[in-house]
């Protein structure tokens, strides 16, 4: 299982997975967590922040979406600034290096324990890898009070920037988290995974070649070092085949 960066640049390669993601989000938030405001007759969770400004990190396991989260730069419209301004004491943090983290949906109670464990860790590791790639130093968002101990267990330091507020189905508050890359090493050690988990496909590939290229990238990422020599041989043979 890898975590894919899906944004406006490469979205065309992931049309099926993007729909799966919106359906999975509806399943988790409207059906499992029973957030009434997110119930939708088409059983897709899509809101006004699912725009070209959003980047999704999506855990994909052989074409099946196992979890996702949404990241939006703080200089674009986002929930804390636009919708839940009152949740924050003073001004919401904003500026380069600050992104909002929302719609965190790891796994599903109907998946196996092992898969849910993997997804939970992979999504968090992917957040650190993505943060490193974009120079993100701080994440902001709103957390349910019941989820915070789990976030802290995963090594995040969760600093409140607002007092808890009732939101109908629970109590949550606005937070700020500093990105400490040392924690990513601890998460990798706990999961027992030392290779890269994040896949970011370049823009410009069309659907079919995009799928092929993704598969090739995933295979290459899983290749053990001792097999690289053999893989190079195969590639050489392939490149000499007459077209």
């Amino acid at each position: 299982m890898h975590v894919h960066v899906i944004n406006t640049a490469n979205r065309a390669q992931y049309l099926d997975e993007v729909e799966q993601m919106h359906r999975h989000r509806h399943r988790i938030f409207a059906e499992v967590m029973k957030w009434k405001a997110l119930e939708s007759p088409d059983r897709l969770d899509i809101d006004e922040f699912d725009t070209p400004n959003a980047t999704y990190l999506v855990a994909i396991d052989n074409g099946v979406v196992r979890g996702s989260l949404r990241l939006i730069p703080s200089w674009r419209p986002h929930m804390l600034k636009t919708l839940f301004r009152d949740y924050v004491e003073g001004d919401p943090p904003s500026g380069p290096g600050i992104w909002e983290w929302t719609r965190h949906a790891p796994g599903d109670p109907s998946f196996s324990r092992e898969i849910n464990h993997q997804v939970r860790f992979l999504l968090n590791i992917a957040v650190y890898e993505f943060a490193a790639s974009r120079g993100i130093e701080t994440f902001i968002g709103i957390a349910d009070c019941q989820i915070v101990p789990r976030m802290i267990d995963l090594g995040w330091k969760v600093d409140p920037i607002g007092l808890p507020v009732n939101y109908g189905e629970g109590v949550g508050y606005a937070f700020r988290m500093h990105v400490d890359h040392a924690n990513n090493d601890r998460l990798r050690a706990r999961l027992g995974r030392d290779n890269t988990v994040l896949v970011e496909m370049p823009r410009g590939l069309v659907a079919e070649e995009g799928r092929m290229a993704r598969r090739a990238v995933e295979l290459a990422m899983e290749l053990p070092a001792r097999k690289i020599g053999r893989a190079e041989e195969v590639l050489r043979e392939l490149s000499t085949v007459d077209e």
Binding site: P149, K157, D159, P160, G162, L163, P164, N166, V171
Partner: protein, 261 residues
């Protein structure tokens, strides 16, 4: 503050400043010892006029308390009253919290539930101590253990008020600190083969707390037992280990692997 003078409790009025709570959240995540966190907690309790604070931890399946932290200017007076009268037995908040994860207050709980006479009596008696309302938050951990955090205050707690929100955050972050730093001491080890049955789990637990330097009264606080019951456990432990003093009993039990050194 000396134990003989009855402290008057400050009442915090709205609007509540969030700054001290945020500062407490910071300390609870960075402090290296729980004592450091307790020190910060004491400051916030005074500032917010919280008369009595309890965090208890339940790790076993029966959800009996296995550890606790108790603080606040009124804690000795009220806690003694609570323990002497066996109030834990009819404190419905405790049993309700086993199956709930939402915060509540005495006012809200009384309005939503058909509470027993024993419970009413407890709320009424707390008022004699100047504690007119209480906040309770059950926190269930991923491993099946739980924390229950209770805070008692002189004023009525209105729902959706900032003071209620502030108490919620304080309770949450204290629980996070207690999880990270551990409520000492650890549970006694499981006894080695051949030593099973020498002491009961409660006797070992009491000895483990004696080892941690707690008095019988304090152990009673922590384990929700009366001081008398704790002394009985310790006396029985001395008999079974065939020693005369509690210090000898601690050493003997440690040597036999019945408690941690």
């Amino acid at each position: 503050m000396s134990a003989t003078t009855k402290p008057s409790i400050a009442v915090l009025n709205e609007p509540v400043q969030a700054g001290p709570v945020f500062a407490f959240a910071e300390i609870s995540q960075t402090a290296e010892t729980l004592d450091e966190v307790d020190h910060a907690l004491k400051r916030v309790l005074n500032e917010f006029g919280i008369g009595h604070f309890v965090l208890y931890q339940a790790t076993d399946r029966a959800k009996r308390p296995t550890g606790a932290r108790i603080a606040g200017p009124m804690h000795k007076d009220w806690r003694k009253h609570y323990v002497d009268n066996g109030m834990a037995n009819y404190d419905e908040l405790l049993s309700w919290g086993l199956h709930s994860a939402a915060p509540t207050t005495w006012t809200k709980f009384s309005a939503e539930h058909d509470i027993s006479d024993g419970q009413k009596l407890m709320f009424d008696e707390a008022k004699c101590f100047g504690l007119n309302d209480g906040f309770y938050l059950p926190i269930h951990q991923a491993d099946g253990s739980m924390h229950g955090v209770s805070m008692m205050v002189p004023q009525k707690l209105e729902s959706d008020s900032r003071i209620l929100a502030a108490l919620h955050l304080l309770a949450l972050y204290y629980s996070i600190a207690a999880n990270r730093l551990g409520l000492s001491p650890p549970e006694p080890p499981s006894p080695p083969e051949g030593s099973k049955g020498i002491l009961t789990p409660r006797q070992r637990q009491c000895l483990q707390w004696v080892r941690a330097g707690k008095s019988s009264w304090e152990i009673g606080e922590i384990l929700s037992l009366s001081e008398h019951t704790v002394n009985e456990h310790l006396e029985e432990a001395r008999k079974r280990l065939k020693v005369y003093t509690t210090t000898q009993a601690v050493i003997e039990a440690a040597l036999r692997g019945l408690i941690h050194i």
